[in-house]
C-alpha cells in the first residue's frame, strides 16, 4: 500500500474531513475516559448535556463562544498574511484595559455612541499593541512569534499591577478588580435570565465583515497575496509594509474586542482572569476553521461547547475537565491531518 497524490480533491471529502476527524478524536478520548475509570458513554452524555442540553447550557456555550469568535477572527486575518500573531491574549487584555479606562466614567455617552466608542478605542489599543511586533518584523526581522508571545506576559503583568494598585475598585471589598463599567457602556442581555449578551451579535457581525473584507476588498486581496507569496506580491507592486501594518491593526483590534465583550458584557468589570486563554484558544479556533472567517463562528461555538461540556462532566463524574483540552487538541490535529490526507489516495502495491 502506498499514498498517491490526487489530481482533484472531491468537495464531499473536504466537507466531511472535519466532522470525521472530530468523531475520531472523541473515540480516542474515550480511551482516556475509560482509563480515568468512568464510562465514556455517560461521560459524553454529560458533556453534551452540559454543552447543549438545556437553555442554560446553550446560552453559556454562546457566552464562551463570543470572545472566541473575536480572537479566532484575529488569528484568521493575521495568519492569512503569514503574520504569526500569538499575542491575542495580550491584545484581549489591552482592549479590556482600554474599556476600563474610558468606560468607567471618564467618558459618558448615550449607549448608541458609547458602545461603538468602547469597541473602537479597545480595538485601537489592541491594534497598536500588535503594531510594534509587526514593525519589528518588517524593519528588524524580529520573529513576531516571540515578540507577540512575550508581550502577552507584559500586558498581563500590567493588568495585575493596575488591579492591585491604582485601578483597584474600593467598593470591591479588597478583591483585585476594576471599577464597574457605567450602565451606558454595558452590553445588553439577549435573553432574560441568561448571561448571553449583545457581544455575540457584534461578534457575528465582525465575522461577516471580515469575510467581506477578505473577499471583496483590495485589503483582503493584498493580505492573501502577501501571505501566500510575499516575493511575488512585492514584485507585482503591492504595498508590503502598509499591508503588514494594516493586518496588524485589524488583527490586534479584533482580539481586543474580545476584551470588550468580557469586561462590558460577561463580567461588567475588569479582573485579571477574564480570559482563561481565549487569545491562545483563538489559534485553535482559526486553524479548525481553515482560517475562514465564517468557519470561525462554527469552530468557536464547537470549542466553547467542548469546554463548557467538559466542565459539566467533571462536576458530575470524576474525570478532569482537562479532557476538553485533549479533545480540542486531538480534534485540531486530526482535522489538519485529515485535510492533508484528503489530497492523497491509498493505492495497492
Amino acid at each position: 500500500m502506498r499514498l498517491e497524490a490526487r489530481e482533484h480533491v472531491p468537495l464531499w471529502m473536504t466537507a466531511l474531513a472535519p466532522p470525521i476527524a472530530v468523531a475520531v478524536s472523541f473515540l480516542f478520548c474515550a480511551i482516556l475516559i475509560l482509563w480515568a475509570g468512568a464510562s465514556p458513554l455517560s461521560a459524553y452524555g454529560d458533556l453534551i448535556a452540559g454543552a447543549l442540553g438545556s437553555r442554560f447550557a446553550i446560552t453559556e456555550t454562546l457566552v464562551r463562544a463570543t470572545p472566541l469568535i473575536f480572537t479566532g477572527l484575529a488569528v484568521a486575518v493575521a495568519f492569512r498574511a503569514k503574520l504569526w500573531n500569538i499575542g491575542g491574549e495580550g491584545q484581549l487584555y489591552a482592549g479590556a484595559l482600554m474599556v476600563t479606562w474610558v468606560g468607567t466614567g471618564a467618558v459618558d455617552l448615550p449607549p448608541i455612541l458609547m458602545i461603538p466608542f468602547l469597541f473602537l478605542s479597545a480595538a485601537a489599543a489592541g491594534g497598536l499593541l500588535l503594531l510594534g511586533p509587526a514593525l519589528m518584523k518588517t524593519y528588524l526581522k524580529a520573529d513576531e512569534v516571540v515578540t507577540t508571545l512575550l508581550l502577552n506576559f507584559v500586558v498581563l503583568l500590567l493588568v495585575n499591577y493596575l488591579l492591585f494598585g491604582p485601578w483597584k475598585d474600593p467598593m470591591a471589598m479588597g478583591w483585585p478588580q476594576g471599577a464597574a463599567i457605567i450602565d451606558n457602556g454595558l452590553l445588553e442581555g439577549l435573553v432574560p435570565k441568561a448571561r448571553v449578551h449583545m457581544g455575540l451579535i457584534y461578534a457575528l457581525c465582525a465575522a461577516v465583515l471580515v469575510f467581506i473584507m477578505m473577499r471583496f476588498t483590495i485589503w483582503g486581496f493584498e493580505i492573501r497575496a502577501v501571505g501566500h507569496n510575499a516575493e511575488a506580491a512585492r514584485f507585482a507592486g503591492m504595498p508590503m509594509t502598509w499591508t503588514t501594518v494594516r493586518t496588524a491593526l485589524i488583527s490586534g483590534g479584533l482580539a481586543a474586542c474580545a476584551g470588550v465583550t468580557e469586561v462590558a458584557g460577561t463580567k461588567g468589570y475588569l479582573t485579571a482572569d477574564i480570559s482563561p486563554g481565549f487569545g491562545y484558544t483563538g489559534i485553535a479556533v482559526a486553524m479548525l476553521a481553515g482560517l475562514n472567517p465564517l468557519g470561525v463562528i462554527v469552530s468557536a461555538i464547537f470549542i466553547a461547547a467542548i469546554y463548557n461540556g467538559a466542565d459539566a462532566m467533571s462536576r458530575s463524574i470524576d474525570v478532569s475537565n482537562y479532557i476538553a483540552d485533549v479533545i480540542t487538541a486531538t480534534s485540531l490535529l486530526l482535522v489538519l491531518a485529515a485535510v492533508a490526507l484528503s489530497r492523497y489516495r491509498l493505492k495497492r502495491g
Binding site: R6, I218, N229, R234, F235
Partner: protein, 513 residues
C-alpha cells in the same frame, strides 16, 4: 540491428500510471554498449518518469528492465546503482560545504569502515579525471566551483561508482558553448571506453551533434526512434510536438526612440563593490536586445533594476526620458514596464491563488479592477476570460488555482498580464526556461509582436539559440560588466561563448575589475 555492440540496457514495455494519468505507456528502449541514446520529448512526455523507473524510484505497473542479461530488481535504487546505472541530475545534488573528494566518496564507504582511504580514492579520481578530461581539484570546496566544474564533479561521482550506464538530464542547460563542447569530448571518451549514455535534452543541434540513436516520447508513448543518420531537426521537432513546427522568425524592423537608458549605473552588491559596474546601455522601441552571460554575472541585478526591485547606487537610469533612479515595482508598472520574471513560481505568480487573481495582481489597485477599495470581481472575471482565450491559457477555469497549470500555461498567464498593459519596455528574463517547443514558439511570437507594436524588449537568457533567434543586438555580461552591443548576424555562438567567459570583448575593463 546487426553489426552492433551488445546490449547494455533493455527497457521492455514499461507502463506507469498515476491514477487516471498514464505517464509511461508501453515504452521500450534499447541501449547498446558505447552508444549515446538521446531521449527527447516535451515537458510531461514521460522522460523523467521513465528515468525514475530505471533508477528504482518508481515501480512500473508493467514491463521489465534488463541490464546486460540480468533482470533489474524493480523499485530498488540500490539495485540500480549495483547494476552500474548512474545519473547526473539537471539540478546538481552536491553538498556545497564539502570538498570535491568528500562529495565523490559520499555514500561509497561502508558504515563500519574504521578509517577513510582518501589516498586510494584520490588516485582513482585522478585516473578517471585524466582518462575522461574531467580536471578538477579534489580538495576544492564545491561551493567555490563554477557550474561547469560542478557538473564534472557529478560525472566523476558517477564514474567513481563504476557506472556502465550514465543518464544525463539536460546537461548543457547551464553551460557555455565551450563548456558544452568539453562535455561532449568527455562523453565521446566515455563511449570509446564502452560506457553507454542516455542524454536527455531539448536542444536539437546538440542531440544531432552527439547522439548515435534518438528516441522521442510524447504523451507517455514512444512515438519515434531512429538512428542519427536518418534524423533532422524538422523530423525530431515534428515527432516531439506531433505536428510540423514553424518557429517564428524576426522580421526586419526600424528601431524607434530610446525607451530605456542606463548611464554609468552601479547597482547591487554594496556601494563599494557593486555587482553591476558602470553599466551604460540603451534600449529603443521596436527592437529586441538580448543579454547573454553565464548566470551570476550580474544579469539578475540588471533585471531587478528594470523591475524596480532595487535602485542604482550611482549613475542615471531613465525610462522614456523620465528619470527612473527611484523606481519601485508599482511605479515601474505604471511607467509602462512589463516584467516577465526569471522564476515564474517564486516571483511571477502566486500559485495558491486563482488564475483571475493572478491576472489582476498588477492592476488590482486601479480602476476598473477595483473602485474605492472594492474589488470589482465582475470586471476581473470578464477580463480573465478574455485573456485566457486570447493568450491560449489552458488547463483550468478562471477560478482554478495557478498551481494546477503547466509551466507553459503559467508563462502564458504572465505574458497575458504583462502584454495587456501595452508596455513600452518589456523585460523578459529567461522567458522560455523549461518550456516545450510549442510554448517557446508562442512566447517568441508574442515578443516579436510586441516589438512590431513599438515596444523595446530586453531578453535575458542562458539559451544562446534563443538570443540569436530573437535579438536585433546582443550584449554580453561578464563579472558585472556589459560588452558593446553586437549584431547576431556578425557573430558565432563560439565567439559569444568566449565573451561570456571574459576571454574577449571586455578589453582592459576586465583587468581593471
Amino acid at each position: 540491428m546487426s553489426g552492433q555492440t551488445p546490449l547494455a540496457l533493455q527497457i521492455s514495455a514499461i507502463t506507469k500510471r498515476f491514477g487516471s494519468l498514464t505517464a509511461n505507456d508501453g515504452i521500450s528502449l534499447d541501449l547498446h554498449e558505447g552508444q549515446i541514446l538521446a531521449l527527447l520529448g516535451e515537458n510531461g512526455a514521460g522522460k523523467t518518469t521513465l528515468m525514475s523507473v530505471l533508477f528504482g524510484h518508481y515501480v512500473a505497473d508493467e514491463g521489465s528492465i534488463k541490464v546486460k542479461d540480468t533482470l533489474l530488481e524493480a523499485g530498488s535504487p540500490a539495485a540500480s546503482l549495483e547494476a552500474g546505472i548512474g545519473m547526473v541530475h539537471q539540478h546538481f545534488t552536491l553538498a556545497e560545504n564539502l570538498s570535491v573528494l568528500d562529495n565523490i566518496m559520499l555514500g561509497t564507504e561502508r558504515l563500519t569502515a574504521v578509517r577513510r582511504d582518501t589516498s586510494k580514492a584520490k588516485r582513482k579520481i585522478a585516473k578517471l579525471a585524466g582518462a575522461f578530461g574531467l580536471a578538477v581539484d579534489p580538495n576544492a570546496s564545491v561551493g567555490s566551483l563554477t557550474v561547469g566544474e560542478r557538473q564534472r564533479v557529478e560525472i566523476l561521482k558517477a564514474l567513481y561508482r563504476d557506472v556502465r550506464i550514465l543518464i544525463l538530464d539536460e546537461p548543457t542547460a547551464v553551460l557555455t558553448p565551450q563548456e558544452a563542447d568539453n562535455l561532449f569530448d568527455t562523453l565521446r571518451k566515455m563511449t570509446a571506453e564502452g560506457l553507454s549514455i542516455i542524454f536527455i535534452s531539448h536542444k536539437l543541434h546538440e542531440v544531432l551533434a552527439i547522439a548515435d540513436e534518438i528516441a522521442v516520447l510524447r504523451h507517455g508513448k514512444k512515438v519515434a526512434a531512429f538512428p542519427i543518420e536518418e534524423a533532422s531537426r524538422e523530423k525530431i521537432a515534428e515527432a516531439m510536438v506531433g505536428e510540423p513546427v514553424d518557429p517564428p522568425v524576426r522580421q526586419p524592423g526600424e528601431p524607434g526612440a530610446t525607451v530605456l537608458r542606463l548611464n554609468n549605473v552601479d547597482a547591487g552588491g554594496t556601494v563599494d563593490r557593486p555587482t553591476l559596474k558602470s553599466a551604460s546601455f540603451t534600449l529603443s522601441g521596436g527592437e529586441i536586445v538580448g543579454l547573454a552571460g553565464v548566470s551570476g554575472n550580474g544579469q539578475s541585478v540588471l533585471a531587478d533594476l528594470v523591475s524596480g526591485l532595487i535602485n542604482p547606487h550611482s549613475g542615471e537610469m531613465s525610462l522614456l526620458d523620465n528619470p527612473a533612479n527611484a523606481l519601485t515595482p508599482a511605479t515601474a508598472v505604471r511607467a509602462g514596464v512589463g516584467r516577465i520574471p526569471e522564476d515564474r513560481h517564486a516571483t511571477g505568480v502566486i500559485d495558491e491563488m486563482s488564475i483571475r487573481e493572478n491576472l489582476a495582481l498588477e492592476s488590482i489597485r486601479r480602476p476598473p479592477a477595483s473602485r474605492a477599495g472594492w474589488v470589482n470581481w465582475k470586471t476581473i472575471n470578464e477580463r480573465a476570460r478574455t485573456l485566457m482565450s486570447r493568450y491560449d491559457v489552458r488547463g483550468g477555469e478562471i477560478g482554478t488555482t495557478v498551481r494546477r497549470l503547466s509551466g507553459g500555461n503559467m508563462q502564458k498567464l504572465i505574458l497575458a498580464r504583462v502584454l495587456e498593459a501595452s508596455p513600452h519596455v518589456i523585460l523578459a528574463n529567461q522567458p522560455t526556461r523549461g518550456l516545450d517547443i510549442g510554448a517557446t514558439a508562442y512566447v517568441h511570437q508574442q515578443l516579436f509582436n510586441a516589438r512590431a507594436r513599438g515596444a523595446g524588449v530586453l531578453v535575458i537568457s542562458e539559451d544562446l539559440d534563443e538570443l540569436m533567434t530573437l535579438s536585433d543586438r546582443i550584449v554580453v555580461m561578464f563579472h558585472g560588466l556589459l560588452s558593446l552591443p553586437i549584431s547576431p548576424e556578425n557573430v558565432t555562438q563560439q565567439e559569444i561563448g568566449l565573451m561570456m567567459s571574459g576571454q574577449s570583448g571586455f578589453g582592459e575593463a576586465v583587468d581593471a575589475a
